[in-house]
Structures are given as structure tokens and as C-alpha cells.
Amino acid sequence: MSQHSSHTTGSTHDHGDHLECGHILPMRVYRLVLGALLVLTFITVLFSEKAGVFHFGNGALVVAMLVASAKAILVALFFMHLKYENPLTWLYAAFPIILIGFFLGGIFIDNPFRIDPKTMQPMLYESKTTNAPPAGEAHH
């Protein structure tokens, strides 16, 4: 254990993250990333329903989210240096995303699968359903 003695913390070699230090990137990288981000912003506007020139109806959401995620990844990897971080940081960067996944999943197997006991059909979330008077009166 004597070889440990030269470190003040045992952590650094226990779970294999290299010695902590900054990550110096060439300026070029930052400029490119900013460029890419602006282009992507332009794209997402182009594909949007109201501003855009191409229209996909509901596909717009998918496109928008894909583009947004691309932008997010760029920011995280380069501006936030995640690309050069140790696995631990990756873990804690990914964890909230996983949890959001659970969260969304848990709720999207609820509301969309509810049924309306009056018809025994899937529940329709129309204004009239939600603001309807209670069954008692609504019923006749």
C-alpha cells in the first residue's frame, strides 16, 4: 500500500478516472460548434409549422426534438467539455436523462391508456369531457 502514500486521496486510482485537469481545445472547435448551433437553429425554424417552409404536421415535433437534441449534445460535448470528462461525470450527466425517461414513460402509460367508463372506450380529453358536469347531471 506504500505506493498510495504519494496521493492525498485514494479515489483517483480506485475507480480509474485520470488525474483531474482542464481540457484546452483549439479556438477553431468553439467557432465550428457555434456555427453548427446557429445552422441547426435555422433548420429547426425552417421545418417548423408556422414559420417554416416545409410542413410535416406532427412530424414537426420529431424534427424539432431531434435538432434540439443535436444542439444539446454539441453544447454538452464541447462547450461543457463533457467529451473529455471521466466516466463518473458521464454517469451523472446521463442519470437525469434516464430518470426523465422513466418519468415520461410512467406518465405516458397512464393518461393515454385511461378508458371512459361511460363508453368503455379510450378516454377523450376534449374540453367538453374535462369541463363536463359530473356524471349525475351529464347523464340525461
Binding site: M1, F95, G106
Partner: protein
């Protein structure tokens, strides 16, 4: 060698330790020493534990007999009482509970660090906690003043369920704010611990050598950090709902009240593990020491801890199985919930088999630890009922849930905390407590607790709904017993706390640095520890649980 260390500790600088190296209240209020902060937390939560306990005793007295029992207590006041009992016990007592007190005190000692990673942040989160707690009290007083009666204090139940919490005329907004602030303190503590465990372990203190309590604290800290923000936003939205009527949980604007429950339980189920995982850790520390045996299946225990923490994030809606969620999700969440049962079962088996062929002494901490195992068996098995979809349809929101919950939280977290207090008392105070009184108190707590909550399982089976101010006559007998038990339980805690407080302040018996001959690191320094914890940063060469005569084929 330990004897050497101990002697070493007990001679030179006996009188200089973290308690007295600086004098005066101010030195305590401004200290960034994790040990002092731990003590500050301990004193604060004890105060609120007493408050919550008094509320509980008033409730039990009211419920002792059918019909109005206490003349002055209106139904609305009863609602306020059970709400305050819940809110205070959960948000102000149990959640900071073991992590903020024992965790703060022990974590650096156990991993051989001088302090937590961010000592100033640590003190800051204590003051946030204090602010939140005071805000909660203020919320109560404000409500009382506005309504000229106790009826004006919070009356929504600690769960703040919408739409009632939106309509209620009581001081919900303030109380939600208080819980929000408290959550923030919880986040910072958790964050601090995670970083501490990753970055500040002493040389040679590998993950495979960490005490189970540290693993438990780690899992807890992760939950504190990642689950609490969700309750934060939930309460913030509730406040917005009440102030501006943003209509997110308001059915009149198409909001879905059930969604509030999703939000609430996404935090409040994991929070159950914030309460009980550290208690698991405590038991896993106590049993080996008093059995002179290594914890059975160390790895299994540690991984089970992480597994519980992780799965805990995915099962929240089993609190809502009959709340109007779709049958699909009810089925899904019911099945997933059983996944938590398995790692929990593993832990119980490991604790018990640790005692096999040990050399078992029955000091008070060990008694509490064994009681914990018994109580937690009941808590766990009754959890199976509630996870089972068909059975939960009957038990949801009955006294069965109340009893199950208290077996988990009081029988788990609180008994765990009391066990920890007794176990590490010599380290914290440098004194020994009065063993006889402690054992007597234990007996009272154990009998009282079971007498309080076993009858409530019966009530649940008979279909007694929870949160009832009054009840039909057929439930009376069991309620009366439950009340008797509650008072015994209360006396028990009083004895235990008074005993510890008295011994700490006026106790004559000095504690050696390692009275139980434990192997884990916190016992290898003086009792009470010096301000820097260790004279020199220790280098760890051994597993924490190397008790007993090595067998030919042992790893580690």
C-alpha cells in the same frame, strides 16, 4: 495495535477535541466542522421529533374511543394535527434524519477524511434547513393567527394532494414554500456527500473496503440529489397554482389532479429510501461488531443497497393504484414494485446470517438492531400486500397502509437512528450512557411500538379508512389498544433521549476511543475525535469487517 492507538489517543491532548477546541455558542453556529454540523442537525431534528410526537399523541388520544373524545378538538383540528404530524416528521425530521446527523458526523471519519468535500456548503445547507424549518413553524403560526384557531394551520395532509391543496384556506402556500426550502438543503447535503465519497477516501480505502454505512449513505445521497428537485418543482407549481391559478393541476382548466400525484410520488417514493437506506447501513455496522463476525455477503449487501436506490425511482405510482390511473399502468407499477422486495429480502437474510456462529453481546445498540430486523420483516412482508394489485384495491388508504408505513419509517428509520445514536454515542460525546436505563427505554419503545401499530393492521383488515377523526363503533377496541401503545412508545423515546442527553452532559464514565473493539475507521481515532479527525491521514490496508479467525479460503 488498536489498544496502542487507543492509549495513544487517551493520554496526550485528551482534553482537546472537536467539542471543546473552540468555546462558545458562536463557535458552534459558525463552525464548518462536519462533526459539529452533525450535532447541530441532531439537536434540531430532535426538537421537531418531539413536536411531531406530541401531535401524534393528541391524535391517538382523540381516536382512543369512538365519538368525540377530546372536548376541545374539532374534526378540522384533527385534520391539522395529522397533517402537521406528517409534514414535520417527514420533511423536517426523518428526511434529514440519519444522513444529516450520523452521515455528517461519520462519513469523513469512516473514509479517513478531514471533512466533507465542501465544508462551507455543508454549514450553508444546515442554515437552509433551519430556515425551512422555521418557515414551516411560521406557516403554522400564520395560519393559526389568520383563523384565530388551530384550524387555520395546514390541513391538506403531508401529501398536499390537489385539488384540496389548491382550495384549502389554510397556510398551504407558506408550508409548500417551507418544504421547498427544506428540499434545497437536502439536495446540497446529498451533493456534498456524493462528492466526498468519490474524492476524499483515504489512501487504500477502496470501494471494496468501505463500511456498508458509507455505501448506504452514498445511495441515499444520490437519491437526495436527484429526486428532490422534482418535489421542488411540484411544490413550486402548487404555489403558482394557489397564487396565480396557472391551472396545471386544476381540473376546471383541464388540469389533471392525478398528475399531481405522479409528480409528488416521483419524489416521495424514493424519499422513503432516503429515510430507510441509512438505517440499513447502521444495522449492517452494528450486527458485525456485536457478533464479532464480518457482515455476511458484503458485496451482495452493498449492491442490494444501490439496486434498491435505483429501482426506487421506477415504482412511484404504486401509491396511486386506485387513484384513477389506467389499469395498464397500475399493472405495470404493481409488478415493478416487487423488484424492490428482492434486494430488501437479500439484506435481511444477510443481517441474520451474520450472527451465525458469532460471539453475540446484547448491548443496547445490538438490541435495537435485532428489533429493527424483526420490525422490518413485518414492514417488508406487509409491503407485499400493498404491492399486490388485487389486495391493494382493498387496503389502499386504510389503516393497513398507516401501519405498514410506520413499521417502515418508525420501525426502520427511527429505530435505526436511535440505534445509531446509542452505538456512536461514545464517539460523539466521549462518554458512556447508562446501560440499564437504555435497555429499559428499549423495552418500552419496542413493546409500545408494536402495541401501537399491530392493532392498526387489524383495523386495516377490517376496512378502517385512514385520516378519520371519528369511526364506527366496531373499530373501537383496537383503536384503544393502539392509543395505549402510542403512549408507551412515547415514554420509551423520552427515557432514551433523556438518558442520552443526561449522560452526554453530566455523565461521569469516560469512553475509550474504541469501546466495542470495532475495526471501522471512525473508532481508530480519539473519542471524541479531534477537530481534524485524525492526527495523520490513515492508510487503509484491510477490509473494514475483518472480524474473526480467517478461514483458509477467504477473499479480500
Amino acid at each position: 495495535m488498536s489498544t496502542h492507538t487507543a492509549a495513544h489517543g487517551s493520554h496526550e491532548g485528551q482534553d482537546i477535541n472537536y467539542l471543546n477546541h473552540q468555546k462558545g455558542l458562536w463557535s458552534w453556529l459558525t463552525s464548518v466542522d462536519h462533526k459539529r454540523i452533525g450535532i447541530l442537525y441532531l439537536l434540531s431534528i430532535t426538537l421537531f421529533f418531539i413536536l411531531g410526537g406530541i401531535a401524534a399523541l393528541f391524535m391517538r388520544t382523540e381516536l382512543a374511543f369512538a365519538g368525540p373524545t377530546l372536548k376541545f378538538l374539532t374534526p378540522q383540528m384533527y385534520n391539522v394535527l395529522f397533517t402537521l404530524h406528517g409534514a414535520v416528521m417527514i420533511f423536517i425530521f426523518v428526511v434529514p434524519g440519519i444522513p444529516a446527523t450520523m452521515g455528517n458526523f461519520l462519513l469523513p471519519l469512516m473514509i479517513g477524511a478531514k471533512d466533507v468535500a465542501f465544508p462551507r456548503l455543508n454549514l450553508f445547507s444546515y442554515y437552509i434547513y433551519l430556515a425551512g424549518a422555521l418557515l414551516a413553524l411560521f406557516a403554522v403560526f400564520w395560519g393559526v393567527i389568520e383563523a384565530r384557531s388551530l384550524e387555520g394551520a395546514l390541513d391538506t395532509g403531508w401529501t398536499f394532494y390537489a385539488p384540496y391543496s389548491i382550495d384549502s384556506g389554510t397556510s398551504v402556500t407558506l408550508m409548500a414554500g417551507a418544504a421547498f426550502v427544506l428540499g434545497f438543503s437536502s439536495i446540497l447535503t446529498g451533493l456534498n456527500f456524493v462528492v466526498t465519497i468519490h474524492k476524499l477516501r483515504a489512501p487504500g480505502m477502496t470501494w471494496g473496503r468501505l463500511p456498508v454505512f458509507v455505501w448506504a449513505t452514498y445511495a441515499t445521497a444520490v437519491i437526495q440529489t436527484l429526486a428532490t428537485p422534482v418535489i421542488g418543482i411540484t411544490l413550486a407549481l402548487l404555489m403558482m397554482e394557489r397564487i396565480f391559478g396557472v391551472g396545471i393541476f386544476n381540473a376546471d382548466m383541464g388540469g389533471d389532479p392525478v398528475l399531481f400525484q405522479h409528480f409528488f410520488w416521483f419524489y416521495s417514493h424514493p424519499v422513503v429510501y432516503i429515510m430507510v437506506l441509512p438505517a440499513f447501513g447502521v444495522v449492517a455496522e452494528i450486527i458485525p461488531v456485536f457478533s464479532r463476525k464480518p457482515i455476511f455477503g458484503y458485496r451482495a449487501v452493498c449492491y442490494a443497497t444501490l439496486a434498491i436506490a435505483f429501482i426506487g425511482f421506477t415504482v412511484w405510482a404504486h401509491h396511486m393504484l386506485v387513484a384513477g390511473i389506467s389499469d395498464t399502468s397500475a399493472i405495470f407499477f404493481s409488478i415493478i414494485t416487487f423488484a424492490v422486495a428482492i434486494p430488501t429480502a437479500i439484506k435481511v437474510f444477510n443481517w441474520v446470517s451474520t450472527m451465525y456462529r458469532g460471539s453475540i453481546s446484547f448491548d443496547t445498540p445490538m438490541l435495537y438492531a435485532m428489533a429493527f430486523v424483526f420490525l422490518f420483516m413485518i414492514a417488508g412482508t406487509t409491503g407485499i400486500y400493498l404491492a399486490t394489485l388485487a389486495i391493494d384495491v382493498f387496503y389502499h388508504d386504510t389503516y393497513f397502509v398507516v401501519a405498514h408505513f410506520h413499521y417502515t419509517i418508525q420501525g426502520g428509520a427511527v429505530i435505526g437512528l436511535i440505534a445509531a445514536l446509542h452505538f456512536w454515542f461514545p464517539k460523539m460525546s466521549g462518554k458512556m450512557y447508562n446501560e440499564t436505563v437504555a435497555k429499559f427505554a428499549f423495552a418500552l419503545v419496542f413493546i409500545g411500538f408494536n402495541l401501537t401499530f399491530l392493532p392498526q393492521f387489524g383495523l386495516g383488515m377490517m376496512g378502517m379508512p385512514r385520516r378519520y377523526y371519528d369511526y364506527p363503533i366496531e373499530f373501537e377496541t383496537l383503536h384503544t389498544w393502539s392509543t395505549v401503545g402510542a403512549f408507551l412508545n412515547g415514554f420509551g423515546y423520552t427515557f432514551a433521549l433523556v438518558n442520552l442527553a443526561y449522560s452526554a452532559l453530566f455523565g461521569k464514565v469516560k469512553a475509550s476511543s474504541n469501546p466495542y473493539n470495532s475495526l471501522s475507521l471512525e473508532w481508530q481515532t480519539k473519542s471524541p475525535p479531534i477537530h481534524e479527525n485524525f492526527e495523520e491521514i490513515p492508510v487503509i490496508t484491510e477490509w473494514t469487517y475483518g472480524y474473526g479467525k480467517p478461514l483458509p479460503n477467504t477473499h479480500h
